[in-house]
Amino acid sequence: MSTAVDTIQANYDAMDRPLESEMTLSMGPQHPSTHGVLRLELKLDGEMVVRAIPDIGYLHTGMEKLFEYKKYQQGIVITDRMDYLNPLGNNLAYVMAAEKLLGLEIPERAQVIRVLMCELQRIASHMVWFGTSCLDMGAMTPFWFTFKEREKILNIIESASGGRMTPSYFRIGGLMMDLPAGFENRVKQFLENFPDALETFDTLITGNPIWHNRTKGVGVISREDAIDWGLTGPCLRGNGVELDLRRHNPYSGYETYDFDIPTEPDGDVWSRFLVRMRELRESHKIVRQALERLKPGPVKADAPKVVLPDRDDMRKHMDSLIHHFLIVAEGFNVPEGEVYHAIEASKGELGVYMKSNGGPKPERVHFRGPSFVNLSALPTMAEGEMIADTVAIIGSLDIVLGEIDR
């Protein structure tokens, strides 16, 4: 027997009393709309957010510490696990920082493949953002369509690298291996069908009046504040700032591709949404151009002391075998120095600060995650909005907690 309910006295007085003007609500860390384990401490006045204090660190695994104990080539697998929606972007930032220190020249074919894979990954990342941010606001249907498209891209990435979520496909000095047979056709097939999928998304959401009501004028940040808070990527372009590192600090041959930088002027959730939707079309354009440029050639730099030799060479040449042994057993020494290399990841500027002391392990690796910085601006956007709009704002920031907490 015993229901504790029997012992509770109804307190009608308390019901009659008005709410105190402010209450604190802890949103997360298990809240589904926080995209992982983000906790927000919300100070509320009724339903209005007076203060929002993000609390992060639930996924902290000490990755930056781990880099210092791993050889340069071993660090690549750690980067996969940071922004797990855009692992190839993380790979690229990391290996390019190391290549900058080593002064390696990357062959043309490897660079084209890097661009191609990164843009596919960007589409996949935006698909997750689109699906989940709609889901947060109660629109369930788009989620299934977007994950269908993402699945196709993950299959393509798997065919090349062997991993779906953790490809580790880019290596210092080039790629893990060349593309498999039939890869071009798979990408072509995806490219052919993708515009139809975009049409579907537009039909479902972009023209939807409920969506307009939920997003327009919500979570506004001014242009000056956006730059001051260090917003990058689609979040900054949603403020009308034309900044895209693929164009303005080009890397991996992006300066030779023809694409537009979509911007929207309003700085609200709707602007950030539109920028990403238009970016999908630009990525589609870049993948198509990259596919046309794929010409046979080497995919690894000519640096036998850094790049693992081909399997076949190891069977025939003594020196290849020695290099292989030394790279695996001892690693390669990277000249002393420090670099900061930034790329345009799907969420914004992904910067890698790498410092070498001349040995086979880095002295310091720091990741400037775009999600980390974009999330720090959340209070500015959310204060003065409703709780339900906070969910929309988090969705529009497109954060990944794996990268924030590292």
């Binding site: 730059i227 001051d228 900044l243 303005h248 900061y340 400037r368």
Partner: protein, 159 residues
């Protein structure tokens, strides 16, 4: 590319000759080592007069317990107008790892400085809310210091 970056260095030097202690040019990046007392003033000067309106990154590093100065803080400045990057570096000793905050110059420095305080143990003077950000508030030590072990157990409490 780096010639235009050296122009900025010259402009800092023209403003105040003491602000530039050392200049390094490597891998297409220019690093200016500056005295720590002046860092906020230099940042304010570069932001106001030379278009470095964004702090792309701020990170600390530990050079190891034997080195003196032991710590360094790197400021990666970026401009959304001329798209150039400049790195400012401040060196700190183990006895006194404090540096003035730049949260008054760029708001984004808030979380970067908290992270650096949390993991490297650099104290940012004048920071409005210098708490740990990634590790729990009762964590002992600073995980990214070279003398902090990679493995081991930290007694954990729910306080």
């Amino acid at each position: 590319m780096t010639t235009s970056l050296h122009d900025f260095v010259e402009k800092i030097r023209a403003e105040n000759a003491d602000w530039v202690q050392d200049v390094k040019d490597a891998h297409g990046e220019v690093t200016v080592t500056t005295p720590r007392e002046a860092i906020a003033d230099i940042c304010r000067f570069l932001k106001a007069d030379h278009g470095f309106d964004m702090l792309a990154d701020l990170c600390g590093a530990d050079r190891g317990p034997e080195d003196d100065p032991r710590f360094e803080v790197n400021y990666h400045l970026f401009s959304t107008r001329h798209y150039s990057r400049l790195r400012l570096k401040v060196l700190l000793t183990e006895d006194d790892p404090t540096v003035p905050t730049v949260t008054g110059v760029w708001k984004t420095a808030d979380w970067h400085e908290r992270e650096t305080y949390d993991l490297v143990g650099v104290i940012f003077d004048g920071h409005p809310d210098l708490r740990r950000i990634l590790l729990p508030s009762d964590f002992d030590g600073h995980a990214l210091r070279k003398d902090y072990p990679l493995r081991g157990y930290e007694p954990y409490s729910m306080n």
